[in-house]
Amino acid sequence: MINAYYLQVLTIMGINVIMALGLNLITGVTGQLSLGHAAFMSIGAYAAAILTLNYGAPFWLALLFGALVAAFFGVLLGFPTLRLSGDYLAIATMGFGEITRVILLNLDIAGRALGISGIPHSSNFSTVWILAVLSIVTMVFVGNSRLGRAFLAIREDEIAAEAMGVNSTYYKIQAFALGSFFAGLGGGLYAHYITYLNPSDFGFMKSIEILNMVVLGGMGSIPGTILGAGVLTAVPEVLRAVREYRMLFYGGLLVFMMIFKPNGLLGGVHFSTIRNWLIRIFKGSAGSPAGGSRGGTGAGEDAKTRVQEG
Protein backbone atom coordinates (compact mmCIF):
# COMPACT_ATOMS: atom_id res chain seq x y z
CA MET A 1 0.00 0.00 0.00
CA ILE A 2 1.88 2.97 -1.30
CA ASN A 3 -0.17 6.11 -1.17
CA ALA A 4 0.82 9.58 -2.33
CA TYR A 5 2.22 10.48 1.07
CA TYR A 6 4.62 7.52 1.31
CA LEU A 7 5.57 7.95 -2.32
CA GLN A 8 6.46 11.55 -1.59
CA VAL A 9 8.56 10.70 1.46
CA LEU A 10 10.38 8.06 -0.60
CA THR A 11 11.00 10.56 -3.39
CA ILE A 12 12.49 13.08 -1.00
CA MET A 13 14.57 10.26 0.43
CA GLY A 14 16.01 9.70 -3.05
CA ILE A 15 16.89 13.38 -3.41
CA ASN A 16 18.59 13.29 -0.01
CA VAL A 17 20.52 10.16 -0.99
CA ILE A 18 21.97 11.98 -4.03
CA MET A 19 22.99 15.03 -2.01
CA ALA A 20 24.37 13.02 0.89
CA LEU A 21 26.46 10.91 -1.49
CA GLY A 22 27.98 14.13 -2.81
CA LEU A 23 28.91 15.24 0.68
CA ASN A 24 30.14 11.77 1.55
CA LEU A 25 32.67 12.06 -1.23
CA ILE A 26 33.98 15.36 0.14
CA THR A 27 33.76 14.71 3.87
CA GLY A 28 33.56 10.95 4.23
CA VAL A 29 35.95 9.75 1.56
CA THR A 30 38.35 12.67 1.20
CA GLY A 31 38.10 13.82 4.80
CA GLN A 32 37.42 17.51 4.11
CA LEU A 33 34.75 18.75 6.52
CA SER A 34 32.28 20.89 4.57
CA LEU A 35 29.60 22.88 6.38
CA GLY A 36 28.31 24.54 3.23
CA HIS A 37 26.76 21.71 1.25
CA ALA A 38 23.34 23.40 1.22
CA ALA A 39 24.90 26.29 -0.68
CA PHE A 40 25.79 24.02 -3.59
CA MET A 41 22.33 22.54 -3.38
CA SER A 42 20.80 26.01 -3.58
CA ILE A 43 23.04 27.00 -6.50
CA GLY A 44 21.94 23.91 -8.42
CA ALA A 45 18.30 24.44 -7.48
CA TYR A 46 18.21 28.10 -8.48
CA ALA A 47 20.20 27.59 -11.68
CA ALA A 48 17.94 24.73 -12.79
CA ALA A 49 14.74 26.57 -11.86
CA ILE A 50 15.78 29.77 -13.61
CA LEU A 51 16.68 27.82 -16.73
CA THR A 52 13.28 26.10 -16.87
CA LEU A 53 11.23 29.14 -15.91
CA ASN A 54 12.99 31.91 -17.80
CA TYR A 55 14.36 30.03 -20.78
CA GLY A 56 11.90 27.17 -21.13
CA ALA A 57 14.67 24.61 -21.05
CA PRO A 58 13.72 20.93 -20.89
CA PHE A 59 13.86 19.34 -17.45
CA TRP A 60 16.90 17.10 -17.99
CA LEU A 61 18.92 19.97 -19.44
CA ALA A 62 18.03 22.18 -16.48
CA LEU A 63 19.12 19.43 -14.08
CA LEU A 64 22.43 19.00 -15.85
CA PHE A 65 22.97 22.74 -16.01
CA GLY A 66 22.20 23.16 -12.29
CA ALA A 67 24.61 20.38 -11.39
CA LEU A 68 27.35 21.82 -13.60
CA VAL A 69 26.94 25.33 -12.21
CA ALA A 70 27.18 23.90 -8.70
CA ALA A 71 30.30 21.96 -9.66
CA PHE A 72 31.77 25.14 -11.13
CA PHE A 73 31.25 26.94 -7.83
CA GLY A 74 32.74 23.96 -6.07
CA VAL A 75 35.91 24.42 -8.05
CA LEU A 76 35.78 28.18 -7.58
CA LEU A 77 35.57 27.77 -3.83
CA GLY A 78 38.05 24.93 -3.93
CA PHE A 79 40.98 26.78 -5.48
CA PRO A 80 41.62 29.34 -2.79
CA THR A 81 40.27 27.55 0.26
CA LEU A 82 41.60 24.05 -0.06
CA ARG A 83 44.95 25.01 1.25
CA LEU A 84 43.14 25.50 4.54
CA SER A 85 43.02 22.44 6.66
CA GLY A 86 40.57 20.82 9.02
CA ASP A 87 38.29 23.14 10.92
CA TYR A 88 39.53 26.22 9.12
CA LEU A 89 38.23 24.74 5.89
CA ALA A 90 34.97 23.92 7.67
CA ILE A 91 34.48 27.50 8.75
CA ALA A 92 35.33 28.82 5.29
CA THR A 93 32.70 26.55 3.73
CA MET A 94 30.21 27.68 6.36
CA GLY A 95 31.04 31.28 5.45
CA PHE A 96 30.57 30.46 1.78
CA GLY A 97 27.15 29.01 2.61
CA GLU A 98 26.06 32.18 4.39
CA ILE A 99 27.44 34.40 1.62
CA THR A 100 25.50 32.41 -0.98
CA ARG A 101 22.31 32.78 1.04
CA VAL A 102 22.74 36.53 1.44
CA ILE A 103 23.55 36.99 -2.25
CA LEU A 104 20.41 35.05 -3.21
CA LEU A 105 18.43 37.37 -0.93
CA ASN A 106 19.77 40.31 -2.92
CA LEU A 107 19.44 38.92 -6.45
CA ASP A 108 16.45 40.09 -8.48
CA ILE A 109 16.58 37.09 -10.78
CA ALA A 110 16.30 34.83 -7.73
CA GLY A 111 13.22 36.72 -6.51
CA ARG A 112 14.92 38.01 -3.34
CA ALA A 113 12.98 37.09 -0.18
CA LEU A 114 9.95 36.19 -2.30
CA GLY A 115 11.88 33.30 -3.79
CA ILE A 116 11.00 31.53 -7.00
CA SER A 117 7.57 29.96 -7.28
CA GLY A 118 5.64 28.11 -9.93
CA ILE A 119 8.50 25.83 -10.97
CA PRO A 120 7.06 22.95 -13.02
CA HIS A 121 6.54 19.77 -11.02
CA SER A 122 8.79 17.63 -13.22
CA SER A 123 10.57 15.44 -10.67
CA ASN A 124 8.80 12.31 -9.63
CA PHE A 125 9.56 9.07 -7.87
CA SER A 126 11.02 7.31 -10.89
CA THR A 127 13.21 10.15 -12.21
CA VAL A 128 14.57 10.73 -8.73
CA TRP A 129 15.35 7.09 -8.05
CA ILE A 130 16.81 6.43 -11.52
CA LEU A 131 19.20 9.31 -10.90
CA ALA A 132 19.83 8.12 -7.33
CA VAL A 133 20.79 4.66 -8.56
CA LEU A 134 23.00 6.22 -11.24
CA SER A 135 24.65 8.32 -8.54
CA ILE A 136 25.24 5.25 -6.38
CA VAL A 137 26.81 3.40 -9.31
CA THR A 138 29.00 6.41 -10.09
CA MET A 139 30.11 6.60 -6.48
CA VAL A 140 31.01 2.93 -6.34
CA PHE A 141 32.90 3.32 -9.60
CA VAL A 142 34.77 6.38 -8.34
CA GLY A 143 35.51 4.61 -5.08
CA ASN A 144 37.17 1.72 -6.86
CA SER A 145 39.17 3.89 -9.24
CA ARG A 146 42.55 5.52 -8.96
CA LEU A 147 40.72 8.74 -8.09
CA GLY A 148 38.93 7.15 -5.17
CA ARG A 149 42.12 5.67 -3.79
CA ALA A 150 43.78 9.07 -3.99
CA PHE A 151 40.84 10.57 -2.05
CA LEU A 152 41.20 7.93 0.65
CA ALA A 153 44.93 8.44 0.84
CA ILE A 154 44.39 12.15 1.45
CA ARG A 155 41.93 11.43 4.22
CA GLU A 156 44.18 8.95 5.96
CA ASP A 157 47.35 11.03 5.82
CA GLU A 158 47.71 14.00 3.57
CA ILE A 159 51.44 14.39 4.02
CA ALA A 160 52.15 10.74 3.36
CA ALA A 161 49.89 10.91 0.32
CA GLU A 162 51.83 13.88 -1.01
CA ALA A 163 55.05 12.00 -0.39
CA MET A 164 53.72 9.12 -2.46
CA GLY A 165 53.09 11.46 -5.36
CA VAL A 166 49.42 12.29 -4.83
CA ASN A 167 48.83 15.94 -5.72
CA SER A 168 46.48 16.59 -2.84
CA THR A 169 45.18 20.01 -3.93
CA TYR A 170 44.31 18.67 -7.37
CA TYR A 171 42.42 15.73 -5.93
CA LYS A 172 40.72 17.77 -3.26
CA ILE A 173 39.36 20.12 -5.92
CA GLN A 174 38.17 17.10 -7.87
CA ALA A 175 36.38 15.84 -4.79
CA PHE A 176 34.77 19.23 -4.26
CA ALA A 177 33.73 19.47 -7.91
CA LEU A 178 32.17 16.00 -7.91
CA GLY A 179 30.53 16.42 -4.52
CA SER A 180 29.07 19.81 -5.51
CA PHE A 181 27.86 18.32 -8.79
CA PHE A 182 25.70 15.86 -6.88
CA ALA A 183 24.53 18.55 -4.46
CA GLY A 184 23.49 20.62 -7.46
CA LEU A 185 21.75 17.66 -9.06
CA GLY A 186 19.82 17.03 -5.86
CA GLY A 187 19.01 20.74 -5.68
CA GLY A 188 17.61 20.72 -9.23
CA LEU A 189 15.44 17.71 -8.42
CA TYR A 190 14.30 19.39 -5.21
CA ALA A 191 13.38 22.59 -7.08
CA HIS A 192 11.27 20.67 -9.57
CA TYR A 193 9.62 18.62 -6.86
CA ILE A 194 8.79 21.19 -4.18
CA THR A 195 8.20 23.82 -6.95
CA TYR A 196 9.20 26.72 -4.72
CA LEU A 197 12.60 28.04 -3.67
CA ASN A 198 13.50 30.47 -0.93
CA PRO A 199 16.99 31.35 0.34
CA SER A 200 15.89 30.60 3.89
CA ASP A 201 15.54 26.92 2.97
CA PHE A 202 19.25 26.61 2.30
CA GLY A 203 20.68 27.93 5.51
CA PHE A 204 23.31 26.53 7.78
CA MET A 205 20.92 24.03 9.33
CA LYS A 206 20.27 22.44 5.96
CA SER A 207 24.00 21.81 5.53
CA ILE A 208 24.03 20.29 8.98
CA GLU A 209 21.08 18.06 8.12
CA ILE A 210 22.95 16.61 5.14
CA LEU A 211 26.10 16.21 7.21
CA ASN A 212 24.08 14.34 9.83
CA MET A 213 23.05 11.83 7.16
CA VAL A 214 26.65 11.13 6.20
CA VAL A 215 28.01 10.85 9.72
CA LEU A 216 25.06 8.90 11.05
CA GLY A 217 25.24 6.44 8.18
CA GLY A 218 28.97 5.96 8.46
CA MET A 219 31.52 8.29 6.93
CA GLY A 220 33.02 7.07 3.72
CA SER A 221 30.58 4.20 3.39
CA ILE A 222 28.22 4.34 0.43
CA PRO A 223 25.64 1.90 1.86
CA GLY A 224 25.95 3.80 5.13
CA THR A 225 25.26 7.15 3.50
CA ILE A 226 22.22 5.72 1.75
CA LEU A 227 20.96 4.32 5.04
CA GLY A 228 21.71 7.59 6.85
CA ALA A 229 19.79 9.61 4.28
CA GLY A 230 16.92 7.13 4.47
CA VAL A 231 16.72 7.13 8.25
CA LEU A 232 17.00 10.89 8.65
CA THR A 233 14.32 11.50 6.02
CA ALA A 234 11.99 9.06 7.73
CA VAL A 235 12.68 10.00 11.36
CA PRO A 236 10.97 13.42 11.36
CA GLU A 237 7.90 11.83 9.75
CA VAL A 238 7.79 8.88 12.14
CA LEU A 239 8.35 11.13 15.13
CA ARG A 240 5.12 12.98 14.30
CA ALA A 241 3.59 10.41 16.64
CA VAL A 242 5.23 12.13 19.62
CA ARG A 243 3.76 15.53 18.69
CA GLU A 244 5.31 18.52 20.37
CA TYR A 245 8.21 16.45 21.72
CA ARG A 246 9.30 15.63 18.18
CA MET A 247 12.34 17.86 17.94
CA LEU A 248 13.40 16.90 21.47
CA PHE A 249 13.39 13.28 20.37
CA TYR A 250 15.22 14.15 17.17
CA GLY A 251 18.02 15.90 19.08
CA GLY A 252 18.17 13.16 21.67
CA LEU A 253 18.22 10.50 18.96
CA LEU A 254 21.26 12.11 17.31
CA VAL A 255 23.15 12.03 20.61
CA PHE A 256 22.01 8.50 21.39
CA MET A 257 22.94 7.09 18.00
CA MET A 258 26.37 8.68 18.13
CA ILE A 259 27.03 7.22 21.58
CA PHE A 260 25.70 3.87 20.50
CA LYS A 261 27.43 3.77 17.11
CA PRO A 262 30.12 6.46 17.07
CA ASN A 263 31.32 5.51 13.62
CA GLY A 264 27.86 5.58 12.13
CA LEU A 265 25.37 2.85 11.53
CA LEU A 266 27.37 1.24 8.76
CA GLY A 267 30.81 2.74 9.34
CA GLY A 268 33.37 0.76 7.39
CA VAL A 269 30.74 -1.27 5.58
CA HIS A 270 30.88 -1.27 1.78
CA PHE A 271 28.97 -3.01 -0.94
CA SER A 272 31.80 -5.51 -1.18
CA THR A 273 31.41 -6.24 2.52
CA ILE A 274 27.71 -6.77 2.11
CA ARG A 275 28.40 -9.05 -0.84
CA ASN A 276 30.72 -11.09 1.33
CA TRP A 277 28.03 -11.45 3.96
CA LEU A 278 25.56 -12.59 1.39
CA ILE A 279 28.03 -15.08 -0.04
CA ARG A 280 28.61 -16.40 3.40
CA ILE A 281 24.94 -16.66 4.23
CA PHE A 282 24.17 -18.53 1.01
CA LYS A 283 27.24 -20.72 0.86
CA GLY A 284 27.56 -21.50 4.50
CA SER A 285 30.78 -20.29 6.06
CA ALA A 286 32.91 -20.61 2.92
CA GLY A 287 32.96 -16.89 2.13
CA SER A 288 36.05 -14.90 1.32
CA PRO A 289 37.83 -13.16 4.18
CA ALA A 290 36.94 -9.57 5.04
CA GLY A 291 38.09 -6.99 2.55
CA GLY A 292 40.04 -9.56 0.61
CA SER A 293 37.89 -9.48 -2.48
CA ARG A 294 38.71 -7.51 -5.57
CA GLY A 295 36.56 -4.63 -4.56
CA GLY A 296 39.30 -2.18 -3.77
CA THR A 297 37.98 -0.29 -0.78
CA GLY A 298 37.28 -3.31 1.34
CA ALA A 299 36.17 -3.16 4.88
CA GLY A 300 39.55 -3.81 6.38
CA GLU A 301 41.03 -0.79 4.73
CA ASP A 302 38.37 1.53 5.96
CA ALA A 303 37.85 0.17 9.41
CA LYS A 304 41.45 0.73 10.27
CA THR A 305 42.24 3.47 12.66
CA ARG A 306 40.54 6.71 12.06
CA VAL A 307 42.15 9.91 13.05
CA GLN A 308 41.45 9.89 16.70
CA GLU A 309 41.89 13.09 18.52
CA GLY A 310 39.06 13.23 20.96
Partner: protein, 292 residues
Protein backbone atom coordinates in the same frame (compact mmCIF):
# COMPACT_ATOMS: atom_id res chain seq x y z
CA UNK B 1 30.13 59.24 12.39
CA UNK B 2 33.12 56.96 11.91
CA UNK B 3 33.97 57.12 15.58
CA UNK B 4 30.39 56.32 16.56
CA UNK B 5 30.31 53.36 14.20
CA UNK B 6 33.62 52.19 15.64
CA UNK B 7 32.12 52.25 19.13
CA UNK B 8 29.07 50.35 17.84
CA UNK B 9 31.37 47.81 16.27
CA UNK B 10 33.56 47.30 19.30
CA UNK B 11 30.50 46.80 21.52
CA UNK B 12 28.94 44.30 19.15
CA UNK B 13 32.31 42.61 18.78
CA UNK B 14 32.70 42.35 22.54
CA UNK B 15 29.42 40.44 22.73
CA UNK B 16 30.75 38.05 20.11
CA UNK B 17 34.02 37.78 22.00
CA UNK B 18 32.19 36.89 25.20
CA UNK B 19 30.58 33.90 23.52
CA UNK B 20 33.71 33.03 21.56
CA UNK B 21 35.79 32.70 24.74
CA UNK B 22 33.85 29.62 25.84
CA UNK B 23 33.95 28.20 22.35
CA UNK B 24 37.66 28.57 21.95
CA UNK B 25 38.38 27.16 25.37
CA UNK B 26 36.56 23.88 24.77
CA UNK B 27 38.05 23.65 21.31
CA UNK B 28 41.52 24.33 22.59
CA UNK B 29 41.38 21.39 24.98
CA UNK B 30 39.47 18.66 23.19
CA UNK B 31 39.27 19.94 19.59
CA UNK B 32 35.49 19.79 19.67
CA UNK B 33 33.40 22.42 17.94
CA UNK B 34 30.86 22.59 20.72
CA UNK B 35 27.79 23.53 18.75
CA UNK B 36 25.65 23.54 21.84
CA UNK B 37 27.60 26.51 23.21
CA UNK B 38 25.18 28.93 21.53
CA UNK B 39 22.35 27.16 23.33
CA UNK B 40 24.15 27.40 26.68
CA UNK B 41 24.36 31.12 26.08
CA UNK B 42 20.62 31.22 25.40
CA UNK B 43 19.79 29.15 28.49
CA UNK B 44 21.98 31.45 30.58
CA UNK B 45 20.03 34.52 29.56
CA UNK B 46 16.74 32.75 30.26
CA UNK B 47 17.84 31.74 33.76
CA UNK B 48 18.67 35.34 34.55
CA UNK B 49 15.47 36.59 32.92
CA UNK B 50 13.27 34.26 34.94
CA UNK B 51 15.07 35.08 38.18
CA UNK B 52 14.84 38.81 37.62
CA UNK B 53 11.24 38.92 36.37
CA UNK B 54 9.51 36.17 38.30
CA UNK B 55 11.53 36.04 41.49
CA UNK B 56 12.63 39.67 41.64
CA UNK B 57 16.22 38.64 42.19
CA UNK B 58 18.92 41.29 42.06
CA UNK B 59 20.61 41.35 38.67
CA UNK B 60 24.09 40.69 40.03
CA UNK B 61 22.85 37.63 41.92
CA UNK B 62 20.93 36.49 38.83
CA UNK B 63 24.09 36.91 36.77
CA UNK B 64 26.04 34.54 39.01
CA UNK B 65 23.11 32.15 39.33
CA UNK B 66 22.95 31.90 35.55
CA UNK B 67 26.67 31.20 35.44
CA UNK B 68 26.30 28.50 38.06
CA UNK B 69 23.27 26.97 36.35
CA UNK B 70 25.04 26.76 33.03
CA UNK B 71 28.16 25.42 34.66
CA UNK B 72 26.10 22.46 35.89
CA UNK B 73 24.42 22.15 32.51
CA UNK B 74 27.77 22.18 30.73
CA UNK B 75 29.22 19.46 32.93
CA UNK B 76 26.08 17.34 32.52
CA UNK B 77 26.22 17.79 28.77
CA UNK B 78 29.84 16.71 28.66
CA UNK B 79 29.08 13.69 30.84
CA UNK B 80 26.09 12.52 28.82
CA UNK B 81 26.83 13.46 25.24
CA UNK B 82 30.60 13.79 24.80
CA UNK B 83 32.46 11.64 27.29
CA UNK B 84 31.07 8.30 26.08
CA UNK B 85 32.32 9.21 22.63
CA UNK B 86 35.78 10.03 23.87
CA UNK B 87 36.23 6.53 25.19
CA UNK B 88 35.22 4.82 22.00
CA UNK B 89 37.25 4.54 18.89
CA UNK B 90 35.25 7.30 17.23
CA UNK B 91 36.09 10.01 14.79
CA UNK B 92 35.83 13.65 15.71
CA UNK B 93 32.75 14.26 13.61
CA UNK B 94 30.66 11.94 15.77
CA UNK B 95 31.25 14.28 18.67
CA UNK B 96 30.25 17.17 16.43
CA UNK B 97 26.95 15.51 15.52
CA UNK B 98 26.37 14.71 19.17
CA UNK B 99 26.89 18.40 19.93
CA UNK B 100 24.38 19.30 17.22
CA UNK B 101 21.93 16.88 18.81
CA UNK B 102 22.36 18.58 22.19
CA UNK B 103 21.88 21.95 20.54
CA UNK B 104 18.62 20.91 18.84
CA UNK B 105 17.43 19.36 22.09
CA UNK B 106 18.14 22.42 24.24
CA UNK B 107 16.69 25.02 21.90
CA UNK B 108 13.51 23.01 21.43
CA UNK B 109 13.22 22.36 25.15
CA UNK B 110 13.26 26.08 25.87
CA UNK B 111 10.92 26.66 22.94
CA UNK B 112 8.45 24.21 24.41
CA UNK B 113 8.66 25.63 27.91
CA UNK B 114 8.66 29.30 27.00
CA UNK B 115 7.07 29.60 23.57
CA UNK B 116 8.81 31.00 20.51
CA UNK B 117 8.31 34.70 21.17
CA UNK B 118 11.00 37.21 22.00
CA UNK B 119 10.73 38.31 25.62
CA UNK B 120 11.77 41.68 26.86
CA UNK B 121 14.69 41.73 29.27
CA UNK B 122 13.87 44.41 31.85
CA UNK B 123 16.01 47.53 32.04
CA UNK B 124 18.00 46.59 35.08
CA UNK B 125 20.65 49.23 34.60
CA UNK B 126 19.94 52.94 34.16
CA UNK B 127 21.40 54.28 30.97
CA UNK B 128 24.01 56.99 31.14
CA UNK B 129 25.78 58.45 28.16
CA UNK B 130 29.21 59.95 27.89
CA UNK B 131 30.40 62.02 24.95
CA UNK B 132 33.61 61.34 23.15
CA UNK B 133 33.93 64.13 20.65
CA UNK B 134 31.02 63.82 18.23
CA UNK B 135 30.22 60.29 19.38
CA UNK B 136 28.63 58.94 22.53
CA UNK B 137 29.09 55.80 24.54
CA UNK B 138 26.77 54.38 27.19
CA UNK B 139 27.67 52.92 30.55
CA UNK B 140 26.30 49.59 29.35
CA UNK B 141 28.58 49.57 26.35
CA UNK B 142 31.56 50.30 28.59
CA UNK B 143 30.42 47.55 30.95
CA UNK B 144 30.27 44.98 28.16
CA UNK B 145 33.67 45.91 26.77
CA UNK B 146 35.25 45.92 30.25
CA UNK B 147 33.68 42.64 31.35
CA UNK B 148 34.67 40.79 28.21
CA UNK B 149 38.24 42.08 28.50
CA UNK B 150 38.34 41.13 32.19
CA UNK B 151 37.01 37.64 31.53
CA UNK B 152 39.58 37.19 28.79
CA UNK B 153 42.40 38.18 31.15
CA UNK B 154 41.05 35.96 33.92
CA UNK B 155 40.81 33.03 31.59
CA UNK B 156 44.26 33.62 30.24
CA UNK B 157 45.51 33.66 33.83
CA UNK B 158 43.82 30.37 34.65
CA UNK B 159 45.16 28.62 31.58
CA UNK B 160 48.67 30.02 31.72
CA UNK B 161 49.41 30.44 35.41
CA UNK B 162 47.51 27.88 37.48
CA UNK B 163 48.04 24.20 38.01
CA UNK B 164 44.69 23.34 36.50
CA UNK B 165 45.64 25.44 33.50
CA UNK B 166 48.87 23.58 33.12
CA UNK B 167 46.95 20.31 33.16
CA UNK B 168 44.58 21.75 30.57
CA UNK B 169 47.42 22.65 28.28
CA UNK B 170 48.96 19.23 28.72
CA UNK B 171 45.63 17.59 27.94
CA UNK B 172 45.22 19.70 24.82
CA UNK B 173 48.67 18.73 23.57
CA UNK B 174 48.27 15.02 23.99
CA UNK B 175 45.42 13.51 25.91
CA UNK B 176 46.93 10.05 26.20
CA UNK B 177 50.33 11.19 27.39
CA UNK B 178 48.70 13.57 29.84
CA UNK B 179 46.76 10.65 31.22
CA UNK B 180 49.93 8.60 31.57
CA UNK B 181 51.55 11.49 33.41
CA UNK B 182 48.87 11.18 36.10
CA UNK B 183 46.51 13.90 34.96
CA UNK B 184 42.86 13.10 35.51
CA UNK B 185 41.83 13.90 31.95
CA UNK B 186 38.10 13.47 32.57
CA UNK B 187 38.24 15.92 35.43
CA UNK B 188 40.18 18.45 33.37
CA UNK B 189 37.72 18.21 30.49
CA UNK B 190 34.79 18.59 32.90
CA UNK B 191 36.43 21.70 34.40
CA UNK B 192 36.95 23.07 30.91
CA UNK B 193 33.27 22.62 30.14
CA UNK B 194 32.29 24.15 33.48
CA UNK B 195 34.33 27.28 32.84
CA UNK B 196 33.39 27.51 29.17
CA UNK B 197 29.67 27.13 29.89
CA UNK B 198 29.64 29.66 32.70
CA UNK B 199 31.32 32.13 30.33
CA UNK B 200 28.57 31.41 27.82
CA UNK B 201 25.97 32.19 30.48
CA UNK B 202 27.74 35.44 31.38
CA UNK B 203 27.58 36.41 27.72
CA UNK B 204 23.90 35.50 27.55
CA UNK B 205 22.97 37.69 30.50
CA UNK B 206 25.02 40.67 29.33
CA UNK B 207 23.70 40.48 25.78
CA UNK B 208 20.17 40.05 27.13
CA UNK B 209 20.57 43.24 29.17
CA UNK B 210 22.21 45.12 26.31
CA UNK B 211 19.71 44.30 23.56
CA UNK B 212 16.70 44.02 25.91
CA UNK B 213 15.60 40.87 24.16
CA UNK B 214 15.78 37.15 24.85
CA UNK B 215 14.44 34.38 22.61
CA UNK B 216 14.87 30.60 22.35
CA UNK B 217 16.25 31.05 18.83
CA UNK B 218 18.99 33.51 19.72
CA UNK B 219 21.59 30.78 20.22
CA UNK B 220 22.09 29.54 16.67
CA UNK B 221 23.16 32.72 14.91
CA UNK B 222 25.09 33.96 17.95
CA UNK B 223 26.87 30.61 18.12
CA UNK B 224 27.75 30.80 14.46
CA UNK B 225 29.13 34.32 14.76
CA UNK B 226 31.08 33.42 17.88
CA UNK B 227 32.52 30.35 16.22
CA UNK B 228 33.56 32.56 13.32
CA UNK B 229 35.14 35.03 15.72
CA UNK B 230 37.05 32.26 17.45
CA UNK B 231 38.39 30.92 14.17
CA UNK B 232 39.23 34.39 12.92
CA UNK B 233 41.39 35.02 15.95
CA UNK B 234 42.93 31.57 15.82
CA UNK B 235 40.81 28.92 17.42
CA UNK B 236 42.16 27.71 20.76
CA UNK B 237 43.78 31.06 21.46
CA UNK B 238 42.12 33.08 24.22
CA UNK B 239 43.34 36.54 23.21
CA UNK B 240 42.57 35.46 19.67
CA UNK B 241 38.90 34.97 20.52
CA UNK B 242 38.72 38.49 21.89
CA UNK B 243 40.52 39.95 18.90
CA UNK B 244 38.48 37.90 16.45
CA UNK B 245 35.21 38.95 18.10
CA UNK B 246 36.04 42.63 18.05
CA UNK B 247 37.29 42.45 14.46
CA UNK B 248 34.17 40.65 13.32
CA UNK B 249 31.92 43.16 15.09
CA UNK B 250 33.78 46.14 13.66
CA UNK B 251 33.80 44.60 10.19
CA UNK B 252 30.06 44.00 10.31
CA UNK B 253 29.24 47.48 11.51
CA UNK B 254 31.59 49.22 9.11
CA UNK B 255 30.22 47.04 6.33
CA UNK B 256 26.73 48.31 7.11
CA UNK B 257 28.00 51.87 7.48
CA UNK B 258 30.06 52.19 4.33
CA UNK B 259 29.05 49.37 2.00
CA UNK B 260 25.53 48.01 2.22
CA UNK B 261 23.34 46.83 5.07
CA UNK B 262 21.67 44.23 2.88
CA UNK B 263 24.96 42.37 2.50
CA UNK B 264 25.80 42.53 6.20
CA UNK B 265 26.53 38.86 6.90
CA UNK B 266 28.09 38.30 3.49
CA UNK B 267 30.60 41.06 4.22
CA UNK B 268 31.43 39.59 7.61
CA UNK B 269 31.98 36.10 6.26
CA UNK B 270 33.78 37.40 3.17
CA UNK B 271 36.31 39.10 5.44
CA UNK B 272 36.65 35.87 7.37
CA UNK B 273 37.54 33.93 4.24
CA UNK B 274 40.01 36.56 3.06
CA UNK B 275 41.78 36.64 6.43
CA UNK B 276 41.95 32.86 6.49
CA UNK B 277 43.51 32.86 3.05
CA UNK B 278 46.22 35.23 4.20
CA UNK B 279 46.63 33.63 7.59
CA UNK B 280 45.34 30.04 7.39
CA UNK B 281 45.34 29.42 11.15
CA UNK B 282 43.66 32.65 12.15
CA UNK B 283 45.34 35.83 13.31
CA UNK B 284 46.83 34.61 16.57
CA UNK B 285 46.63 30.90 15.90
CA UNK B 286 49.69 28.76 15.73
CA UNK B 287 50.25 26.55 12.77
CA UNK B 288 50.19 23.08 14.23
CA UNK B 289 53.21 21.05 13.32
CA UNK B 290 52.26 17.83 11.68
CA UNK B 291 54.09 14.71 12.60
CA UNK B 292 54.87 12.52 9.64
Amino acid sequence: MFLQQLINGVTLGSTYALIALGYTMVYGIILLINFAHGEIYMVGSFIALILVVSYKVNIVAAFFAAMLGCMILGVLMERIAYRPLRHKNSNRLSALISAIGVSIFLSNLVLMLRGPQTTRFPDVIEYQFYSIGPAQISNLQILIIVISAALMLGLQYIVMRTKVGKAMRATSMDMQTAYLMGINVNRIVAITFAIGSSLGAAAGVLVGIYFNAVSPLMGTMAGMKAFTAAVLGGIGSIPGAMLGGVLLGVAEVLGVAYLSSSYRDAIAFGILIIILLIKPSGILGQRALKKV
